[in-house]
């Protein structure tokens, strides 16, 4: 078991290295969330709206980054560097887990950038809540990353498939989680779809936690949803990686 850990660490640090070498690349996948923040936030009604809006944007940024991350693997499948790693003695599960775990790092950096950008405009940060919120988000983005890698493995030799699926799912997930607009006043079918979207619970939990409301049912639901996505992603991803050639 210790060896799976060692292997995972090797893969994790390999994935992380380009990020550390050019930290600016983290901002790249954030361009859209930052635009949403800049262009939507001024439209929000007066009051505590930033408190409502910002956690959603943090989850959005995590969704964008983690769901795209499979494209790196897709590229490595095409160039041959994935094949090269498959021939090393690295355990197959480590090839996926190490990659998926790395998603946590840009996620935290992005959350920090967003929070820092919003503090001057009256966003209040509750540290304990925020740390717990990031913990939940870590589980969520590991799962999303793993699913994105699974999609990449399934799209081997068909790049269009990866982007079609990713782009098709991205906005429905985002809108149905009530990131940009509240779902509460929508029609029943919309509320139902929102209720079966695990991201809804993550977004709600982030809102509560960043606002300092820690010991609530919302937090528990968010935790369950994130852990569920995380475990599902890892399970599916490891299976796909074990079949990869």
């Amino acid at each position: 078991m210790s060896s799976l850990v060692t292997d995972t660490r090797v893969v994790f640090s390999r994935e992380l290295r380009p990020v550390l070498r050019s930290p600016f690349s983290i901002v790249f996948s954030m361009v859209q969330p930052l635009f949403f923040l800049a262009l939507f936030a001024p439209l929000l009604p007066e009051g505590s709206s930033l408190q409502w809006f910002v956690p959603g944007i943090i989850v959005m940024s995590c969704l964008f980054g983690s769901s795209m991350t499979g494209s790196n693997l897709l590229y490595e499948i095409q160039t041959g560097s994935h094949e090269r790693m498959l021939v090393t003695p690295l355990r197959r599960p480590a090839l996926l887990i190490g990659r998926a775990l790395k998603e946590i790092v840009p996620m935290i950096a992005q959350a920090a950038v967003i929070v820092l950008a919003c503090l001057p405009f009256g966003f209040r940060l509750h540290l304990t809540g925020a740390v717990l919120g990031l913990l939940i988000l870590a589980g969520f983005c590991v799962g999303l990353g793993a699913l994105s890698y699974t999609l990449a493995l399934a799209s081997k030799n068909q790049e269009w498939l990866f982007w079609t699926v990713q782009q098709t799912l991205l906005f429905p997930l985002l809108l149905l989680a009530g990131v940009l607009l509240p779902i509460d006043n929508g029609p029943g079918w919309l509320r139902l779809l929102s209720q079966i979207n695990p991201m809804t619970y993550v977004v709600n939990a982030e809102r509560a936690l960043f606002d300092g409301d820690i010991w609530s049912r919302t937090t528990v639901y968010g935790l369950i949803a994130a852990a569920g996505v995380g475990l599902l992603g890892l399970f599916v991803g490891v299976r796909a990686m074990q079949r990869s050639d």
């Binding site: 292997d7 290295r17 070498r21 021939v87 090393t88």
Partner: protein, 315 residues
């Protein structure tokens, strides 16, 4: 050719890979002894890469079996992986990575401690002349530099058996020569067993001691380049004469074919056959005016074996 006492690095039995409708590898039985340098030669789609991918545990065979470095490629994948190096047809280094980082990660993947991986990466960067580019992003390297980096990655754990899939494709003649020198050097200095695939006849001819010709997933010839050429084609000797009459006499005596005042004769060993032939013709009163001996190429071998030219298929 090999005695069973010698350690076999590779031993396959009826190794087969069938994709849905294509039989890419069709029952290959093959032994490679410790320390051999073998070239798999064949046209596009012959099954070279598929064979290598089975031997390197990337894909499971659909039939037959293979032992590599003493272990079964299906039952003992990790044991096999630990002992082999593989340089695939693509580029092994991640494009957003730096060469040195990739080398160190590769060393870590084979279980080297960080310090040792770093030292080994440094050695290989030095010996492959990558010093100036090792700390640049891989995407900024030229094709030749990337290929050398691939080689360095395949060697990081000093494997006893190295597979290279078309190592020199896409390189200019200068880089190709350097690479071939490096491969031959590995074999000479470390006794590494090497199996490479190639479409380049000159390459197989100049560096391999053993050439295995593959076509449609089967082995159609397996020998030294010299013996392959002698066995399947032989040398061609052209003798020129002063008149067509002399040429006709000579063609009769030497069992050759006359074209004008020239005669073409086939021989296993042209240069050794010529003096005797000249002597024989002088005794018969025929003077030889010119002599030309051409040695066959592996392309000729391929042509006689399959009725097709290897070169035409490349286009």
């Amino acid at each position: 050719m090999k005695t069973s006492v010698e350690a076999m690095m590779i031993a396959t039995r009826e190794l087969t890979k069938r994709f849905k409708s294509v039989t890419a590898v069709d029952g290959i039985t093959l032994e490679v002894a410790d320390g051999e340098l073998v070239a798999l030669l064949g046209p596009n789609g012959a099954g070279k890469s598929t064979t290598l991918r089975m031997l390197t545990t990337l894909i499971p065979p659909t039939g037959g079996s293979a032992e590599v470095a003493g272990f079964d490629v299906v039952a003992k994948q990790r044991e096999v992986r630990r002992r082999i190096g593989y340089i695939g047809q693509g580029n092994g280094a991640g494009h957003s990575q730096r060469g040195r980082d990739e080398l160190i990660s590769q060393g870590r993947a084979y279980g080297l401690p960080v310090r040792q991986a770093r030292a080994r990466a440094g050695e290989l960067i030095e010996s492959l002349g990558l010093g100036e580019v090792a700390d640049r992003t891989v995407s900024s390297l030229s094709g030749g530099q990337r290929r050398r980096l691939d080689i360095a990655m395949g060697l990081i754990h000093a494997p006893e058996l190295l597979f290279l899939d078309e190592p020199s494709t896409g390189l200019d003649p200068q880089n190709r020569a350097n690479l071939q020198e490096h491969i031959v050097g590995l074999r000479r200095e470390h006794g590494t067993t090497i199996v490479l695939t190639t479409h380049y006849l000159e390459e197989a001819d100049s560096i391999a001691e053993r050439v295995i010709v593959i076509d449609h997933g089967r082995i159609i010839a397996d020998d030294t380049p010299q013996r392959l050429k002698a066995k399947h084609v032989g040398d061609r000797v052209f003798l020129g004469f002063g008149s067509e009459a002399d040429a006709t006499t000579a063609a009769g005596l030497l069992n050759g074919v006359r074209e004008g005042d020239r005669v073409q004769v086939s021989a296993d060993d042209g240069p050794r056959m010529v003096p005797g032939a000249i002597e024989e013709l002088r005794t018969a009163g025929v003077a030889v005016h010119s002599v030309e001996v051409t040695r066959p190429t592996l392309d000729d071998v391929f042509l006689t074996l399959t009725g097709r030219s290897l070169r035409n298929e490349e286009a």
